[in-house]
């Protein structure tokens, strides 16, 4: 098995709900707590497994805002595991999930240097490295209904922009959607072979805008002339 996520950049609305629900679930999970520093102070910061960045792609008027959630990619060739001197970082053979054994980590930060995706964050309070667990304490839990045995971020996403599944199975939902929508991985040139895939935004015709100044007609040109004359 090769478990991971697919993130649909076409439908992500950038609401940060996945990050919040991740924090809520994992704060009391196997690698919890996720310490906050000055949560109500002047410089709020803290440990998160999931962060959402926002990019502008293209140039006006053919530009688009793309919301970009990022968590651990659970890479096939995970350098963070290779470089770990203590053996605290490991990749599970059975499902490919990359985890940090909190009892073994010495907090040297070396794995975070090896990760190109910024997936690992040191918890200053516990002195250990923390990262996305793919909700390993949830996806195998026999006590919750089968439909809910998914990572917290996937269940929460109001836009259904996140999918969870097995990339080794060619007929799984994630494999199919990656095939159909030309899903891709980030920074393939580094050779980490990440498991998580991203679906590109669908191509839409640009929405017409009213910047056609030369087609404005006589009234429009007069308006522009007055606008140039009046100082505001």
């Amino acid at each position: 098995m090769r478990l991971g996520l697919v993130i649909d950049l076409d439908v992500c609305v950038g609401c940060h709900a996945c990050a919040v629900s991740c924090k809520q679930w994992n704060a009391s999970g196997t690698t919890g707590p996720l310490t906050d520093y000055q949560p109500f102070g002047a410089e709020p910061s803290g440990v998160w497994f999931n962060r959402i960045r926002h990019f502008e792609v293209g140039t006006y008027p053919n530009n688009k805002t793309v919301n970009f959630p990022m968590s651990c990619m659970h890479c096939e060739d995970a350098d963070c595991v290779t470089v770990c001197p203590t053996g605290a970082s490991y990749k599970r053979a059975e499902d490919g999930i990359v985890l940090v054994d909190q009892d073994k980590c010495m907090g040297c930060n070396y794995c975070s240097w090896a990760c190109p995706y910024g997936a690992r964050e040191l918890d200053r309070e516990s002195g250990t490295m923390k990262k996305c667990t793919l909700c390993v304490d949830r996806i195998y839990d026999q006590a919750i209904p089968e439909a809910e045995r998914q990572p917290s971020c996937v269940l929460t996403c109001p836009a259904h922009a996140r999918m969870f599944g097995d990339f080794d199975d060619p007929n799984s939902e994630v494999s199919k959607v990656v095939r159909e929508r030309e899903g891709y991985v980030l920074m393939p040139e580094l050779g980490y072979n990440p498991t998580n895939h991203y679906l590109p935004p669908r191509k839409h015709k640009p929405i017409p805008t009213d910047i056609g100044a030369d087609k404005a007609g006589l009234a429009g040109k007069l308006k522009q002339f007055v606008n140039r004359m009046v100082k505001r």
């Binding site: 940060h16 000055q38 410089e43 709020p44 910061s45 440990v47 962060r51 959402i52 960045r53 926002h54 990019f55 502008e56 792609v57 293209g58 140039t59 805002t65 793309v66 970009f68 990022m70 350098d79 595991v81 290779t82 470089v83 770990c84 001197p85 203590t86 053996g87 605290a88 009892d103 073994k104 980590c105 010495m106 907090g107 040297c108 930060n109 070396y110 975070s112 240097w113 090896a114 990760c115 190109p116 995706y117 910024g118 964050e121 040191l122 200053r124 516990s126 002195g127 250990t128 891709y184 991985v185 980030l186 920074m187 393939p188 040139e189 580094l190 050779g191 980490y192 991203y198 590109p200």
Partner: protein, 311 residues
């Protein structure tokens, strides 16, 4: 990258310690300058071992959870950091055996054997330290063979300067030690000069386009998604101002190589030990600046998600 003082201190000090030990052994083996008096070899060897020990101890200060530091000896099959730990600890019994046999004036063959093994381990440890950085694909300023070349040459150069001062103190024939230091000075200076040239022209690498997958359009960060800083911005966000970098490069090259060269000339001309020591101090000041820059100038690819266009 954020330049952590404990790691700068550690790499400069233990690098010089390992270089010094290797050179003491070689000077002993080849009887450089007619052979250093026994007490000088012994106490300089002790100094080398102390420098290595203090450096290694200070490197544990940057650990957030040092109680698990002993586990760092377990993953030597894959991790250069673990290899560094294993090799540096393996260095100790051989180095101590060498010095003990020197003190006791016993079994020269066994002494040379222990010294040779310790020297080999010293070289491998410096190499491992450098490979911690050189093996990272995420930081192109480090992912080059010039990094181990610089660590090895700078460690031997700084250690060799200590040995030269010791030779001046001991009053032995200084010429072989001077030649050794001059040779190492030029090698180290050339390697660093090539390194600075190299990182100024890194060519194509990861960009904001490959980081986001939008390779056919201009991409710009609108919002990094955090209110204040994060662990990632604290650890990787530091950018050294261009002018600071250029002037520090100049200062470090002057202090580490040019000033010692001039001071050495006058030290030998006027047989002045004080000028020799001044040269040594200048070398270490230059190396601290060099090591600070080594960390500060490195750019991690995660910065592409925080607004950098290329790394």
């Amino acid at each position: 990258m954020h330049p952590a003082f404990s790691v700068i201190f550690f790499t400069v000090l233990s690098g010089a310690g390992f270089g010094l030990f290797a050179l003491i052994y070689l000077a002993d083996l080849f009887k450089l300058g007619g052979g250093l008096p026994g007490a000088y070899v012994f106490w300089t060897g002790v100094l080398a071992i102390v420098m290595v020990g203090v450096g290694l101890l200070s490197s544990t200060f940057h650990l957030a959870n040092p109680k698990n530091a002993w586990r760092a000896f377990t993953r030597w099959r894959t991790s250069w950091l673990s290899r560094e730990g294993v090799l540096s600890v393996a260095f100790y019994p051989f180095a101590l055996a060498y010095l003990a046999l020197y003190w006791l004036e016993l079994w020269p063959a066994a002494r040379h054997f222990a010294g040779a093994i310790a020297t080999l381990l010293a070289w491998l440890t410096i190499f491992s330290t450098a490979m911690i950085y050189a093996s990272l694909k995420t930081i192109r300023h480090w992912n080059t063979p010039l990094v181990p070349a610089a660590y090895l040459s700078l460690g031997h150069f700084s250690g060799g300067m200590i040995l030269l001062v010791v030779a001046m103190m001991a009053g032995v024939q200084a010429l072989p030690f001077v030649l050794l230091s001059l040779f190492q000075l030029f090698v180290a200076a050339f390697v660093k000069a090539i390194y600075y040239y190299w990182i100024g022209r890194l060519g194509a690498g990861s960009t904001i386009n490959t980081a986001t997958g939008f390779t056919r359009a201009q991409v710009k960060l609108l919002d990094a998604g955090h209110t204040h800083g994060t662990f990632l911005t604290q650890e990787f966000g530091y950018i050294v101002p261009k002018l600071t970098a250029v002037s520090l490069r100049l200062i470090s090259m002057l202090l580490a190589f040019a000033v010692p060269l001039v001071l050495l000339y006058f030290a030998l001309e006027y047989h002045s030990l004080a000028l020799g020591i001044a040269a040594l101090v200048s070398v270490f000041a230059g190396l601290v600046a060099e090591r600070w820059l080594f960390f500060a100038e490195a750019r991690h690819v995660v910065n592409l998600y925080h607004g950098a266009q290329r790394c």
